[in-house]
Amino acid sequence: MQVSNLLIEGVNLMLLGMGSVFIFLTVLVLAMSGVSYLAKTLFKDDPREKLASEMTLSPSANEGDEIIAVISAAISRYRAK
């Protein structure tokens, strides 16, 4: 292909590319605003409290620790008898 033809393809690609990027991110801006609006109206609680409760919740995901804690508790109650 000739360089000039390549360049025309390049300009084409540039327009399509920048266009796509802007359209995609514009749609994303709209979508995010919609999602945030939904999240706020559906769950009207204070997001900060939410964050705090998350912190205390998340460790419980560690199943290994949980089961150890449960077992330890069980053993200590046994012994306490």
Binding site: V3, S20, L25, V35
Partner: protein, 377 residues
């Protein structure tokens, strides 16, 4: 004693070519920049060392049967390593700043102009005798302007494997040079008054929004740009692991073990492409030159879009944060913060710059997807 002769013939000093010597020096330079100047040491150190190892004569470390050959085939040729890095980056990234201020996505979009300007630049270089970049080559080179290493490696491995070494080195080098390249452009394009703008504090973001964000991005990617789905999918997978809070084991693995191990091998494997015959070419010079231009244009486009947003919002947006749209997380955001502080000692722009900064990552993944869709066979 034929043994002594055989030993002599196996020696490096008896076999070394000038090209190999030069490439080892390039490797040493990269290591020096990584260690002494702290330029992206996590990547440039392994890349530099990989360059040295793969240019040792007679050792064949980067040839069939050698360690770096296996690592390159398994990790880069397949595209696995950059995708795992993206998973790790997702698990390490907090998108709160972007969620709180979605309009910064426009800054991340504008900065991608660096990519497409570089594309034209690479094609224009073909007018100079000696350059012969195809559309695929030019696209792979252009992504350097996205200022995102894994994206550049992923796209280059798909579109122009022969140029991968030069592209990766250029991408990471200029990312490291962000604190030097960006400030003059930022100062040139903004007025003192603009740089002084104090932005209002970002609103807090709920946990639910943080969880829904990666799904939103992924949904749009699925609908409109599936060719970007490997990159954006793994980035968002990592972020989901982080945000849901019920799979801490997996989140930690993505943030630490996996990304650390992959970084070592990714670096070494990229370095193994710094062989004399592939790297010491006119193409490399062109790529390095284009890379510098790409970063400048990307920065300028981001700042100019920042000025537009400043106008449109009646002066609520400090145009400096547009410079962070090139990606180069978190370096570019820190540069914005630093330049902002020069004008106003109490103006911390870091949090506001994180928005366009992570938007830039998404933006360059989108640009990579467009290029893959249109140029990739």
């Amino acid at each position: 004693m034929g043994g002594a002769e055989a030993l002599w013939h196996s020696m490096g000093i008896a076999n070394m070519t000038w090209g190999q010597l030069l490439m080892m020096l390039v490797g040493c330079l990269l290591i020096y920049l990584a260690v002494a100047k702290k330029f992206e040491p996590l990547l440039l150190l392994p890349i530099g060392f990989g360059a040295i190892l793969s240019n040792i004569p007679e050792a064949g470390i980067a040839e069939a049967g050698g360690l770096l050959y296996y690592v390159y085939s398994a990790g880069i040729e397949t595209g696995i390593f950059p995708l795992l890095i993206f998973m790790g980056v997702g698990a390490l990234t907090d998108f709160s700043a972007l969620i709180a201020m979605p309009s910064t996505l426009f800054l991340g979009a504008a900065a991608q102009f660096g990519i497409f300007a570089t594309l034209l630049g690479a094609l224009t270089l073909n007018f100079i005798p000696g350059f012969n970049f195809s559309l695929a080559d030019a696209s792979a080179i252009a992504i350097i302007g996205g200022a995102d290493g894994p994206t550049a490696i992923f796209l280059a491995s798909r579109l122009a494997p022969d140029l991968l070494g030069a592209i990766a080195v250029a991408a990471y080098s200029y990312m490291a040079l962000v604190p030097i390249i960006q400030p003059p452009i930022m100062r040139l394009l903004t007025t003192e008054k603009e740089r002084n703008i104090v932005m209002s504090q970002l609103r807090p973001v709920s946990r639910l929004e943080k969880i829904l964000f990666p799904f939103t991005v992924l949904l749009l990617c699925i609908l409109f740009l599936p060719s970007a789905a490997p990159l954006i999918g793994m980035l968002m997978f990592g972020n989901i692991l982080k945000e849901v809070g019920v799979v801490d084991r997996l989140s930690r693995a993505a943030q630490n073990e996996i990304i650390n191990i992959v970084t070592i091998f990714l670096g070494l494997a990229v370095g193994s492409k710094l062989s004399a015959d592939k790297f010491l070419t006119l193409d490399t010079l062109g790529i390095l030159a284009l890379g510098a231009v790409a970063f400048c244009i990307g920065t300028a486009a981001g700042v100019l879009m920042g000025k537009v947003m400043c106008k449109l919002t009646g002066g609520k947006v400090n145009p400096l944060i547009g410079a962070a749209g090139v990606s180069a997380v978190p370096m570019a955001a820190r540069v914005v913060n630093k330049v902002g502080l020069e004008s106003n000692h109490h103006n911390f722009l870091l949090m506001h710059a994180m928005g366009p900064n992570v938007a830039g990552v998404i933006g360059s993944a989108v640009a990579a997807g467009v290029l893959l869709a249109l140029v990739g066979h």
